[in-house]
């Protein structure tokens, strides 16, 4: 069975169609892997073993369906995406036990494509954080070193993928929440263009920044899943009508020859650790060797990106999280004396510290007297950041950048200093402000044996080009192997 887990999603899908492997065998292999590793990893908030096996068995009885690209492929889903028949909590106490009456659009697309959903991944509460330490339920451990964080907020998804608990997972990325955990756990993840994937059914954090994307163990696997979940959905007005190409087509022939790759000067300054710098230098050298041309570009407003991002994200969060009031769903305080009490105590008991900080600050920057100085100002700087990113991209095929200034750090290291953690998002959050796509994938292992990732940032709806260049990098780089668990 264990050789099933060594397969790529693409080759497993092929083997399932040819009936060389049954859907029940594939699901069983992943579920057994979960059973063996979950006590150490804590990547899952909910596992539907019986449901998944029953579904797989029923599918086997009917036989493979050629028009379903993910027929029988076992996947997991970040708990921020509502999923019928399973709890959906966004790792918050305030949604403990919540059962959605509908599937998020991306989840619905997975099911329609024949995927078998095994369960829901741990995350930072409401996607606010970069370690999973803000989960109200558990901290996920990095499969490469159990004492370290897996990154976040989609840390459970990255961990599950890297540890072979599934063949792909859906994450969401508001300021780096797919790319940073992918980088920390040594897997591949893409934050698609804003509007590429419907946000319908994604428990909202920062609505002008949030985007759902796939995480997997190879570029091709990621491309296969994005082809399934992307596309127009009338239930999200920001979801684009742009046609969806077959992202996995032609990846085997893709090359870096003649590509122009920009390296943003500001992303390689002070604050970038030696280990990450060395890994990215290796990627740049590989690109040159493969015939790409590397050019330096400048993004002068990079310094302002973190402040801009957090003001926008917290403002939108304070508004989005107003819906959790203890009335229609979620936690309600015991014996409130009046309605006001019901709201304020239910929210106090239901939200964790990081969520409260962001609600308070978001309320502050939107409040009378501060709106112009913070929220409007941030929206103005946002335009400058977007314009300069698009300008830099006009002259190149993509930008090559680090994902995080450092590799995964020890659990607990920064948990008392929220601002310190915000500063780690410097290279990831500008892409969300601009709505652009970015593919994160492994560069190398650092001196401590921890994965270091890099990202390729593209023009809007340029995912196909990013997958092509990513696939070429994947072939040319030595690879990092798998964590030993």
């Amino acid at each position: 069975m264990s050789d099933i887990l060594d397969m790529t999603l693409a080759s497993l899908a092929e083997a399932l169609k040819e009936k060389k492997i049954s859907a029940a065998e594939a699901a069983g292999a992943c579920l057994d892997r979960m059973e063996a590793t979950e006590p150490r990893l804590c990547a899952m908030l909910h596992v539907d073993r019986e449901g998944a096996l029953a579904q797989a068995k029923a599918m086997d009885d009917k036989g493979p369906e050629a028009d379903k690209p993910l027929w029988g492929v076992p996947v997991t889903v970040k708990d921020a995406l509502v999923t019928r028949g399973m709890p959906s909590t966004a790792a918050s106490r305030i949604l403990e036990g919540f059962q959605s009456m509908y599937d998020a659009y991306a989840v619905q697309r997975l099911r329609e494509a024949g995927a078998v959903i095994l369960g829901k991944n741990n995350m930072d509460e409401f996607a606010m954080g970069s370690t999973t330490e803000n989960s109200a339920y558990q901290t996920t451990h990095n499969p490469w070193n159990l004492d370290r964080v897996p990154g976040g907020s989609s840390g459970g998804s990255a961990c599950s993928v890297a540890a072979g608990q599934c063949f792909a997972s859906l994450g969401s990325d508001t300021g780096g929440s797919i790319r940073q955990p992918a980088s920390f756990c040594g897997c591949v993840g893409i934050k698609p263009t804003y509007g590429r994937v419907s946000r319908y059914g994604l428990i909202a954090y920062g609505s002008s920044l949030d985007q759902i994307g796939p995480m997997a163990r190879s570029v091709e696997d990621c491309a296969c899943v994005l082809s399934v979940i992307a596309g127009h959905d009338g239930r999200d007005s920001t979801c684009s009508p742009e046609p969806v190409p077959c992202y996995e087509a032609g990846l085997a022939q893709a090359s870096l020859k003649g590509r122009r790759i920009g390296m943003p000067r500001e992303y390689f300054g002070e604050g970038l650790s030696d280990g990450v710098r060395k890994a990215i230098d290796g990627v740049a050298a590989c690109a040159r060797q493969e015939g790409a041309e590397l050019v330096e570009v400048s993004l002068p407003h990079s310094e302002a990106a973190i402040a801009t991002y957090y003001i926008v994200a917290m403002a939108e969060a304070s508004s989005n999280l107003a819906r959790f009031d203890g009335v229609r769903y979620g936690h309600r305080t015991a014996d409130p004396k009046d309605l006001q009490d019901l709201y304020t105590l239910s929210r106090k008991e239901g939200f964790g510290d990081e969520v409260k900080r962001r609600i308070l600050l978001g309320t502050y920057v939107l409040s009378s007297g501060y709106y112009d100085a913070y929220y409007r100002k941030a929206a103005q700087v946002r335009r400058l950041i977007r314009d300069e990113l698009r300008e830099a991209l006009a002259g190149v095929d993509c930008l090559l950048a680090p994902v995080s200034p450092v590799a995964a750090w020890p659990i607990g290291q920064h948990s008392q200093d929220p601002l310190q953690l915000f500063l780690m998002d410097a290279y990831t959050c500008p892409v969300n402000l601009a709505g652009l796509p970015s593919l994160a994938m492994p560069a190398a292992l650092d001196g401590d044996g921890m994965p270091v990732g890099f990202q390729l940032i593209g023009r809007e709806f340029g995912e196909a080009g990013l997958f092509e260049m990513g696939a070429a990098f994947e072939r040319a780089l030595p690879g990092i192997g798998s964590p030993r668990l």
């Binding site: 009456m101 302002a304 009046d338 006001q340 409260k356 600050l361 409007r376 402000l433």
Partner: protein, 98 residues
């Protein structure tokens, strides 16, 4: 980090009141320092000249698509009430307000 913005106990209480959030003394003690640090860091935006810049509130790349303003009524009442902390067959129930 030295804070240039000082968030006071009263500020936290005011924000909490606007946010419909009860904060206890421990939280106030923790949050005043942390929120001061974070807001001080935001001062960095003051260095950027935005005098002629239109705010960008959404990066969406297409004109929003609209549908006809017709109620769909796709959900069943019972389904919508299923997650309610308190309710009956027809309504969500909250403490008496009048």
């Amino acid at each position: 980090m030295a804070s240039t913005k000082t968030v006071t106990r009263e500020d936290v209480l005011h924000m909490a009141q606007l946010s419909r959030l009860t904060v206890d003394d421990d939280e106030i003690a923790r949050f005043t320092g942390q929120l001061s640090d974070i807001l001080s860091y935001m001062d960095i935006l003051g260095k950027v000249d935005t005098s002629a810049v239109e705010p960008l509130y959404s990066p969406v790349f297409h004109a929003p698509t609209m549908r006809e303003d017709v109620a769909e009524n796709k959900r069943e009442r019972a389904d919508m009430l299923r997650n309610a902390p308190d309710g009956n067959d027809e309504y969500f129930i909250v403490p008496r307000i009048v």
